[in-house]
């Protein structure tokens, strides 16, 4: 009987989740209105520093083990915040890219398709990186390859700016940057 009741509750929750997706899709409500359309600027240099294994190695050599574990956990929490922000920015760009896909001209559609693919890849990397980061919080000596997130983020930035420029020439992108 407990099993039956558990299954009934699980199925009711599943149905609610599916209906929630249906309603938000039908009404065009963004999943998280507070974050919906905001791209949050990210300090890429700080992100690079936190994701750099050489920095961790340097700290490991310089600090006593207990102190290193404490510092590493603090750095991991900061890194998790950066990865989450990168993932949220990717989600915003997926939505924007989908809007841009309806544009008539081929270069914009091609760039938008590339942007959506890169944003999906970044979001995937972000999930894996977060799992590793939270794992490393329990085991601070664990090696942490978070660089794919940063690299994907930089690639996505370039494509996003290209799409922005193709869609609206008023967007201030300086070629000299690239």
């Amino acid at each position: 009987m407990t099993l039956a009741v558990s299954l009934m509750i699980a199925s009711a929750l599943s149905l609610v989740a599916i209906l929630w997706v249906t309603v938000t899709r039908g009404l065009g409500i963004p999943a998280r209105p507070s974050l919906g359309d905001q791209i949050q600027p990210l300090d890429v240099e700080a992100f690079r520093n936190l994701a750099d294994p050489a920095e961790d190695e340097y700290l490991r050599l310089r600090l006593p083990p207990s102190e290193f574990r404490k510092v590493r956990r603090t750095r991991l929490r900061a890194l998790a915040a950066y990865v989450k922000t990168a993932g949220r920015n990717a989600a915003v760009l997926i939505r924007r890219g989908q809007d841009a896909l309806t544009a008539g001209d081929a270069p914009t559609v091609e760039a938008a398709s590339q942007m959506v693919n890169q944003a999906l890849l970044l979001r995937r990397h972000a999930v894996l990186a977060l799992v590793r980061i939270y794992g490393a919080m329990g085991w601070p000596n664990l090696n942490l390859p978070a660089r794919p997130v940063l690299e994907a983020y930089l690639r996505l930035s370039g494509t996003a700016m290209l799409v922005g420029r193709l869609r609206n020439s008023a967007v201030p992108v300086r070629r000299s940057v690239w």
Binding site: M1, L3, A4, V5, L7, M8, A10, S11, A12, S14, L15, A17, I18, L19, V21, T22, R25, G28, A31, D37, Q38, I39, Q40, P41, L42, D43, V44, E45, N89, A91, I94, R95, R96, Q98, D99, A100, T102, A103, S113, V116, N117, Q118, L120, L121, R123, R124, L154, S157, A160, M161, V163, G164, R167, N168, A170, V171, P172, V173, R174, V177
Partner: protein, 255 residues
């Protein structure tokens, strides 16, 4: 009214299957079936199966063992087709996005394996509700199938929601119909499989049939009614936010 083979009962049993066959015919004529061949096969098979089972049920010469035997065979074939439809939906959903295609398929396959294990454990702990194995076994089989089906379709919805993958209209309609009916069926079969819950089986049958009818109507709406052109204009990329983002990148690259 709520008893077996009342007018309402007969309508709810036969109505959805007749509609399914009509829908399959229209999909065939429009050529839409080529995009979702397994869903089309499911419609045809489920329609014929439902009507056949009704015919067997009202024919006095057919024994209950024969009826339940036919029900078992139909359920197993239908379950295979349903898994095929999920794979088809997933392929259609992830196809345009190569960055996610393989990872998405692996995630859903992994979830499927986990759900099968959960369903097997649930089946092992389900006490038989009837003296004859043909009947109690079919209830447990249905519970097992719907744990896997409902879990998989929920997983597909969550995957699409997390990655913000767009739901194209027809694909969404098929997934929504299945999602609604599988979640409800899971609850109903779990209640029926448990002999602790004193529920009237005919009421659960009516609820199952009514929900299935609703699912078929959802499919008819999404597959047959043309999509009204959206008045929403394409949104530009947010200039101010991108400008902020640009500044961060410029600062980095100039260092």
């Amino acid at each position: 009214m709520l008893q077996a083979h009342s007018l309402l009962w007969d309508y709810l049993w036969l109505g959805p299957y007749v509609l399914e066959l009509g829908l399959a015919l229209l999909l065939w004529r429009r050529g839409t079936w080529r995009r979702f061949p397994l869903f089309f096969s499911y419609l045809v098979f489920a329609g014929i199966e439902g009507i056949t089972l009704f015919g067997l049920d009202v024919t006095p010469r057919v024994t209950w063992q024969t009826w339940w035997g036919a029900f078992w065979v139909g359920t197993i074939v239908e379950a295979l087709l349903k898994f095929g439809v999920i794979a088809e939906l997933l392929h259609d959903l992830l196809g345009p996005w190569p960055a996610l295609a393989n990872a998405g398929r692996n995630l859903v396959t992994g979830a499927g394996v986990l759900l099968v294990l959960v369903a097997a454990v649930a089946a092992a702990f389900t006490a038989p509700d009837n003296t004859h194995w043909l009947i109690s076994g079919s209830h447990t089989l249905m519970q097992t199938i719907y744990i896997t089906d409902a879990g998989l379709i929920l997983w597909v919805f969550l995957l699409a929601a997390y990655f913000h993958i767009p739901w194209e209209r027809i694909r969404f309609g098929i997934a929504l119909g299945f999602g609604a009916v599988w979640c409800e069926h899971l609850a109903a079969w779990a209640a029926l499989s448990s002999n602790g819950l004193k529920v009237r089986p005919e009421l659960l049958d009516l609820l199952n049939m009514a929900t299935y009818h609703l699912a078929v109507l959802i499919w008819c709406y999404y597959l047959l009614v043309p999509h009204a052109a959206s008045g929403k204009s394409a949104l530009p990329l947010p200039e101010n936010n991108l400008a902020d983002w640009n500044r961060e990148l410029e600062r980095l690259l100039q260092q």
